[in-house]
Symmetry: C2
Subunit: 208 residues, 2 copies
DNA sequence: TCATTAACGCGAGCTTGCTCGCGTTAATGT
DNA sequence: ACATTAACGCGAGCAAGCTCGCGTTAATGA
């Protein structure tokens, strides 16, 4: 979804451009390793990557744009499970997410990205559509479960997966404590129970 | 928990100090009204409050410290429900949180605070202990429910309330869509179902 | 292979964010 | 009431963040 653009007229995505892109995104990630987001700066990214400061600002406009692209780049790693049952799929995905954010650098990156979205509206819309897209993609496993009769027919797939992810972001951004395997386990069982109880159906009973 | 300090020796919390504090915190909140967090700056806060820029930096060190105090100040408004049953309490609290963050200025404030924690370690520890404290306080309603036999005996009260809050922060910070009453309803029913299923017990069955 | 022109390197310089020292105001103890 | 000294107002000035113009390098199409 991120790559494979039709290469707009009058642009040069190959060769040098791609190399500097890789160098810069890698530098962002490494830089998050020592010092985390508080220590991150365009200056340091420029130094580590060997790409000039002015180039960073020209291509990414600001640090916000840069960290957003870095997150989208890395997120391609998390796969979509298909174990045959929804609780199995939820559990597998939860542990994949847990492993993903267990990495300190990824934790730093998601912090950076949320801070970026808060400060820069353009980054906010980029991330909004990115997460929407991911919910749509991973939502397939819920749709399969509904087809198998594991869940109510009017279950909102996106809501289920938002509920699966929510505890991780709460842990990282609000509670600010480590992401461990127990969290993944808890998230998976909680969502499974809640979904079966109809907490994520589109038409819920009472309104007040 | 925030007020009622024993007034440390050689300090003057009364009169002028208190007035400027009120003026500044109010200015932060109002400033978040037009423009939100992206438009927030120490300069503007100084102008609106009539307090000099240097004073802001002296008392709060940086904008991070300022928004943290603003959040803590405002959060005193959310009460602890006691309806007699846990699902009732969860529902009441969920809707209170929903109303709280439905306000655009509060939404801007929580964004500001998370961004502050990401960038400034000192603010991060302040917020960490603040949210810990809130989980302990609101956890009482879960403890009561356990005493009534509504939930498993080894249920972790803090985990239950973290799970109740998580969807709101996900909605605000990640999905970036409006906080509505449906979200509160969904969160309450989901947590109730999950807690009954034992998703938040301290000793969970399988580990892998 | 060669012309065209994105994309980049470089450094001067502007802007914004923040600090510091000094004089003034007003809260607090006696 | 009066002396003491937090807390604040003020403006100069430093530093970090960011921009801009120009010359250079290398990707792309013919």
């Amino acid at each position: 979804m991120t790559t494979a653009h039709p290469a707009p007229r009058g642009t040069r995505p190959g060769g040098r451009t791609a190399r500097t892109r890789e160098a810069v995104l890698a530098a962002v990630f490494e830089e998050l390793g020592d010092g985390g987001y508080p220590a991150l700066s365009m200056e340091k990214i420029a130094q580590r990557s060997g790409v000039h400061l002015a180039t960073l600002y020209r291509r990414w406009r600001c640090m916000e744009g840069l960290v957003c692209e870095a997150l989208i780049d890395r997120s391609a790693a998390v796969p979509l499970p298909d174990t045959g049952t929804l609780p199995g799929d939820l559990r597998a995905l939860a542990h994949a997410i847990g492993a993903f954010y267990g990495e300190p650098r990824m934790r730093g990156l998601i912090e950076a990205v949320v801070a970026a979205a808060a400060r820069d509206p353009e980054s906010a819309t980029v991330l909004r559509s990115f997460f929407e897209d991911r919910l749509r993609t991973t939502g397939q496993m819920v749709d399969r479960a509904v087809a198998r009769g594991e869940l109510p027919a009017d279950t909102d797939a996106a809501e289920v997966l938002a509920a699966l992810g929510a505890p991780f972001y709460y842990r990282i951004l609000i509670a600010r404590r480590p992401v461990d395997r127990a969290l993944a386990e808890s998230a998976a069982t909680a969502v499974w129970a809640a979904a079966r109880a109809g907490a994520y159906t589109r038409a819920r009973p009472a309104d007040d």
